[in-house]
């Protein structure tokens, strides 16, 4: 990572941890969601299994969901959006840095700030609930790689949704739509295995699935090694694809940037 990217990521990290109460609240809220999910699925599964998940596997799935959702929603998409809506993007355009790379540095820096909370929460949940372990040592390593892909994927999706602000001049609706799609098609809300087959097909055609279903499937051995590598390749392809699409859209939008007022 070049020094400017690192400097932007560091600044974003520092800004995120500057608001300690907000940070603490997000950890507590994430923890509460995990506990609620565990209670609901414990009742639903009982001693049996649902969609191929027994209680041990479901606990692992929910904890991976907690980890991935904490990371996925840790970036500063609202800040990016507000800079466009308030016209502060004018300042960004006077800086000698690539706009998309700079936003990526800031966004990923913000995500990194949530890593301690995500790691602590995950470790606490593992110790408290003793979920199923990884299918193999290799599965554990590939799961970790898969979780790392959440960084570029989250940036790509959030950046594309934020770019809409240049056209819509509003962000709230876009954010709601994106977050709903993410929660649903990633499998954070309900595992994909419990959805109709056609809906699973739709989910696998979208990038959201790689936030929770992909790392959880690799961890629990629901795909073999070749399948796991294929999923990682899909994550990499989506990361690159979203980056390229972001570039193409920006190259058109920058011609139409409008910043009124002094």
């Amino acid at each position: 990572m070049a020094s400017v990217d690192l400097a932007l990521a560091t600044i974003s990290f520092k800004r995120k941890i500057a608001y300690k109460t907000t940070w603490l609240f997000s950890v507590l809220f994430g923890g509460w969601s995990l506990l609620a999910g565990l209670a609901v699925w414990s009742t639903l599964i009982g001693d049996g299994e649902l969609g191929g998940y027994d209680w041990q596997a479901m606990k692992a799935y929910l904890i991976i969901g907690f980890l991935t959702s904490t990371l996925a929603w840790a970036g500063s998409d609202w800040e990016m959006a507000n800079r466009i809506l308030d016209g502060l993007v004018a300042i960004d355009l006077t800086k000698p840095v690539d706009f998309q790379r700079a936003r990526a540095g800031e966004y990923i820096g913000g995500m990194v700030a949530s890593l301690p909370a995500a790691a602590l929460g995950t470790a606490a949940a593992v110790l408290a609930f003793r979920p199923a372990g990884p299918d193999s040592a290799l599965a554990a390593v590939l799961t970790a790689v898969s979780v790392l892909f959440i960084f570029p994927l989250a940036f790509g999706i959030n950046y594309l949704s934020v770019l809409n602000c240049f056209v819509t001049q509003r962000y709230l609706g876009i954010q709601w739509a994106r977050d709903t799609m993410l929660a649903f098609f990633s499998g954070m809300m309900v595992p994909l295995a419990l959805m109709p087959v056609w809906l699973q097909g739709v989910a696998w055609a979208l990038p959201f699935v790689h936030f929770t279903t992909t790392p959880a499937s690799i961890y629990l051995g629901r795909v073999d090694t070749a399948g796991a590598l294929g999923l990682l390749a899909a994550q990499a392809a989506w990361s690159v694809g979203l980056w390229v699409v972001g570039r193409l859209i920006w190259s058109q939008l920058v011609k139409k940037v409008t910043v009124h007022g002094g």
């Binding site: 800004r15 004018a90 355009l93 940037v257």
Partner: protein, 332 residues
């Protein structure tokens, strides 16, 4: 060779054409109409290296839009801009290395971090060496008292401190061309004075400056050339002194007489001058054309015949001239 050259620079925006009220809002939802609005209309502008140019005009005249076109933020609808030979929009990153920009109404500080962090990040962005960074920070501290609030969070700064910090951010990489859009807006007199002194020093060091401001003291103290823009087009472009010499053709003497001033009688007695009542009953204001009469001759005549208790001289300010330019009373 000019450092900045704009030819037929035009920017047109599309604005929603929406009737007021609920009906208008619903109608616009189903039948969208837009109107084109030309903010900058065919501007030709050429700035030589080291020049300090004031770019002034009434609200909505197109000043800030021009600055955004010249800095590469906006893409011109028509016309061309070259800054140091580059198109600032298509070669934005290369251009950004050589320019400094301050928008008085928008901060470039990271709001929730100390000022020092913002400056260090900009150091990285512009690739400023450690030695240059330290030297410039020391200079900013000397001229702008930056040190006192370097560790403070940007959101805790007063407006004057924020503007000084923003100025340091705009200049940390020693840009060749600097655009300052309303740098003294909302500041108190002492901070304004300090900023103006700093800008004069900047100009003396050879930096090219384009300054927009509604505060004409900024302009008179910092700039040599003035470009007046109105309704997106240039109404005047030339040296400030020339503008004053060309348009300031009258002077005034304020006389305090021993008793109440009889203005009509005085006007009858001195028909070559214009007479008006002053702020008190004994005060009278005599306006004369400075190209017809010398001040000595006017004062000699008035003092010998009226024996005033006190007197003072005044001439119209550049502000009066510009106000008349805006109002269309004066032409190029």
């Amino acid at each position: 060779m000019p450092i900045l050259e704009a030819r037929s620079l035009t920017k047109t925006f599309r604005r929603p054409d929406k009737a007021s009220g609920f009906k208008g809002a619903v109608k616009h939802l189903v039948q969208r109409k837009y109107k084109n609005y030309t903010a900058v209309d065919g501007i030709d502008l050429s700035i030589e290296p080291g020049e300090s140019v004031a770019y002034v005009g009434p609200n909505g005249a197109g000043k800030s839009t021009t600055v955004k076109l010249l800095t590469g933020i906006l893409r011109p609808s028509e016309g061309t801009v070259r800054v140091m030979g580059r198109d600032p929009h298509t070669e934005r990153i290369a251009n950004a290395h050589d320019i400094g920009v301050l928008f008085g109404q928008r901060t470039q500080l990271w709001w929730d971090l100390p000022v020092e962090e913002s400056l260090k990040l900009l150091k990285h962005m512009y690739g400023v060496s450690d030695a240059d960074y330290q030297a410039r920070i020391a200079k900013f501290d000397e001229l702008l008292d930056l040190g006192e609030f370097m560790p403070a969070l940007a959101r805790t700064l007063s407006l004057g401190q924020r503007m000084r910090a923003d100025l340091a951010c705009a200049l940390i990489h020693a840009p060749k061309m600097v655009y300052l859009d309303e740098p003294t807006i909302g500041l108190d007199i002492s901070v304004k004075d300090r900023l103006r002194a700093f800008l004069r020093e900047l100009v003396d060091d050879g930096t090219t400056l384009l300054l927009t401001s509604h505060d004409l003291a900024d302009i008179e103290e910092v700039c040599e050339r003035i470009v007046v823009i109105d309704k997106g087009a240039i109404a005047y472009d030339g040296p400030i002194q020339q503008l004053k010499a060309h348009y300031i053709t009258t002077k005034a003497v304020h006389l305090i007489l021993e008793g109440p001033a009889d203005v009509p009688a005085l006007a009858g007695k001195f028909p070559d001058y214009e007479w008006a009542a002053g702020e008190s009953p004994s005060e009278v204001v005599v306006t004369y054309e400075s190209n017809r009469f010398t001040t000595a001759e006017v004062l000699g005549g008035l003092t010998s015949q009226l024996a005033p208790r006190d007197l003072s001289l005044s001439e119209p300010s550049i502000e009066d001239v510009i106000r008349r330019l805006y109002a269309g009373e004066l032409t190029k």
